[in-house]
């Protein structure tokens, strides 16, 4: 009897995998990324945005950053924090411990860049303002 069970087991095992054919008649799970994207959630930890007026220049953000991804940079006669997106680990500690909520992580997550410099969030209008917004 084991033989028969074995055979029917083997038989069912070879033909049940064809159940995948049902996927032909279903909508595919994947999205065509750059054109269709999931809606960003408002709590999502994406690219940084710095409010230049509110920033007191205390650099608590650069000290609390686990990867030392933030350091001061000269801009309009004063030092502001600059974020290196390559080093950042998106832990949002800088936003949590910034005394006057100047630096924030926006839900914007399109950070593909062709050149290394633009990976470092420079300060100019273009720098800290997310590009695609």
């Amino acid at each position: 009897m084991r033989k028969m069970g074995y055979l029917s087991d083997k038989f069912s095992r070879t033909f049940t995998p064809f159940g995948i054919l049902r996927n032909l008649f279903r909508k595919p799970m994947t999205l065509q990324f750059p054109y269709e994207t999931l809606p960003p959630l408002e709590g999502y930890r994406g690219r940084h945005a710095l409010d230049l007026e509110k920033c007191a220049g205390c650099f608590i953000c650069s000290m609390i950053c686990p990867n030392k991804a933030i350091w001061p940079v000269e801009f309009k006669g004063r030092k502001y924090p600059q974020v290196h997106l390559g080093k950042c680990c998106w832990c949002q500690l800088c936003e949590e411990y910034c005394p006057n909520k100047a630096i924030k992580l926006t839900p914007h997550s399109m950070m593909v860049t062709m050149d290394k410099e633009s990976a470092i969030l420079g300060l100019g209008e273009e720098g800290f303002v997310p590009r695609h917004q």
């Binding site: 920033c55 650099f59 030092k79």
Partner: protein
């Protein structure tokens, strides 16, 4: 340069204090300042922000970043000089200031703010009896009269004298210092320190006439004074407004503290009730403890969060054994053959009133009676309007001053500053007002010439 996270996450250096037993029965100074090495460590915690919020928060806009940096480097004299530019008596302010700068410090929320007041006090104490204090720059022939020698009057006199004016201060009370001497007990501000700072103003050639009430502005103008600065402060205690208030055992906290300051002896008995929640109430309660009364309780209409007094002062008071009854207010005073009984009522917090704090409403039928030996009312002060200058007076007795920083009153040539204008505020705000008044008087005198 980027400080390491270890430097960011260091706790604040604790400020040494007298233990409760040593200070409970005498008027010795409670808090003595930092030792040098501790102070250097505390000053090195400062993050030297690019645009420091503490400077904006300080009413006198002291350059805190600069003097803390100089303190860290060990250049104490330069640090004191940067303070003296905007504050004539750092030692006093270093002891009694409610330090708004520490609330505004970037480290306040998570990382223990820098003890700016203690650093300022250390710098001032280093050079208490030094002689290099700034002298008069150039002698001008103008003469200015200052009525009232509170912090505002003294500061204005100091800066006017420095500019070269001949300044005389007229003080009604026997001693100079106004609220600094009368309102603040000596365990917080030792008299030696205060006198040392007032002598510094004297060394600039400022004449101080005590026990002289000024009758009218015309006599002063006739004596050749070009401008008069009214800085009479706010010594008028607000009445409780309940029945039986005029009982001899019910005292006003300002009069009580003034009598103690002037050395009179006041008999309080064992059980004392202080009504009110500000610094004055806390000071009178702690002074009562030091005078030997056993049981001191403070009645306050709202809860601890809304108390206007300094958080540290409240903690010190509780540590010394003062009991605080929240959400309670006096209703009636009974006098039973000499002893005083006080009927109070429970309160509950309602909608926020004009000052933004929730308005207390009495709960019907929740009265409770307390037998006490004496009651001190400390629910606030108001400025007493000096009518003799017949200048425009506001509703609460404060002097109406023109817009902007001119501090000019309705009559030409008469200026006003300090608590007399703004109502009871902190010492540092009075000093700042005095500084600005001095500048506007200087401008006025220059235009008149």
């Amino acid at each position: 340069m980027i400080n390491t996270v270890l430097q960011l996450c260091t706790k604040r250096e604790s400020i040494p204090q007298l233990s409760v037993e040593e200070r409970i029965d005498n008027f010795q100074e409670v808090e003595f300042g930092y030792a040098e090495e501790e102070m250097r460590k505390e000053a090195s915690r400062c993050l030297q922000c690019e645009d420091p919020p503490c400077i904006e928060a300080c009413p006198a806009h002291l350059d805190i970043k600069k003097y803390v940096f100089e303190a860290r480097e060990g250049r104490y004299r330069d640090g004191l000089e940067t303070i003296l530019e905007r504050l004539p008596f750092p030692a006093t302010v270093g002891r009694v200031c409610p330090h708004p700068c520490e609330e505004a410090c970037v480290r306040h929320t998570h990382f223990d703010p820098i003890a700016n007041r203690a650093i300022k006090r250390f710098l001032a104490d280093q050079f208490m009896d030094a002689d290099w204090y700034p002298k008069i720059e150039t002698k001008l022939e103008g003469k200015v009269a200052v009525v009232g020698s509170g912090p505002a009057g003294l500061a204005a006199a100091y800066y006017l004298a420095k500019m070269g004016y001949g300044v005389t201060i007229f003080e009604a009370l026997p001693q100079v210092g106004g609220m600094l001497r009368m309102g603040i007990p000596s365990y917080r501000l030792p008299r030696k320190i205060l006198d040392g700072e007032i002598d510094r103003v004297k060394n600039l050639g400022v004449e101080m006439k005590t026990n002289t009430r000024v009758e009218s502005s015309d006599t002063l103008f006739k004596d050749g004074y070009q401008a008069i600065l009214v800085a009479t402060g706010a010594h008028q205690g607000i009445k409780l407004g309940i029945e039986g208030e005029d009982h001899p055992k019910v005292m006003e906290c300002i009069d009580f503290l003034r009598d103690i300051a002037l050395g009179k002896t006041v008999k309080l008995g064992d059980r004392v009730v202080v009504i009110g929640g500000g610094n004055a109430a806390i000071d009178s309660a702690r002074t009562a403890l030091r005078l030997g009364s056993k049981e001191v309780t403070i009645l306050y209409r709202r809860t601890r969060a809304e108390m206007p007094a300094d958080a540290e002062e409240v903690e010190e008071a509780i540590k010394e054994g003062v009991k605080i009854e929240f959400l309670a207010a006096p209703k009636k005073v009974f006098s039973k053959n000499g002893a005083v009984a006080l009927e109070n009522i429970r309160m509950k917090l309602g909608a926020p009133d004009a000052s933004g704090r929730p308005r207390p409403q009495p709960i019907e039928g929740s009265e409770f009676k307390v037998d006490v030996d004496s009651v001190i009312a400390a629910i606030g002060q108001a400025p007493k309007a000096p009518e003799q200058f017949n200048i425009e007076i506001g509703r609460f007795g404060n002097i109406i001053v023109a817009e902007g920083d001119t501090f000019a009153t309705s009559k030409e040539g008469i200026f006003a500053a300090g608590d007399a204008v703004s109502g009871p505020r902190t010492v540092i705000e009075a000093v700042a007002a005095g500084l600005k008044a001095a500048d506007s008087i200087d401008r006025y005198c220059k235009t008149k010439r």
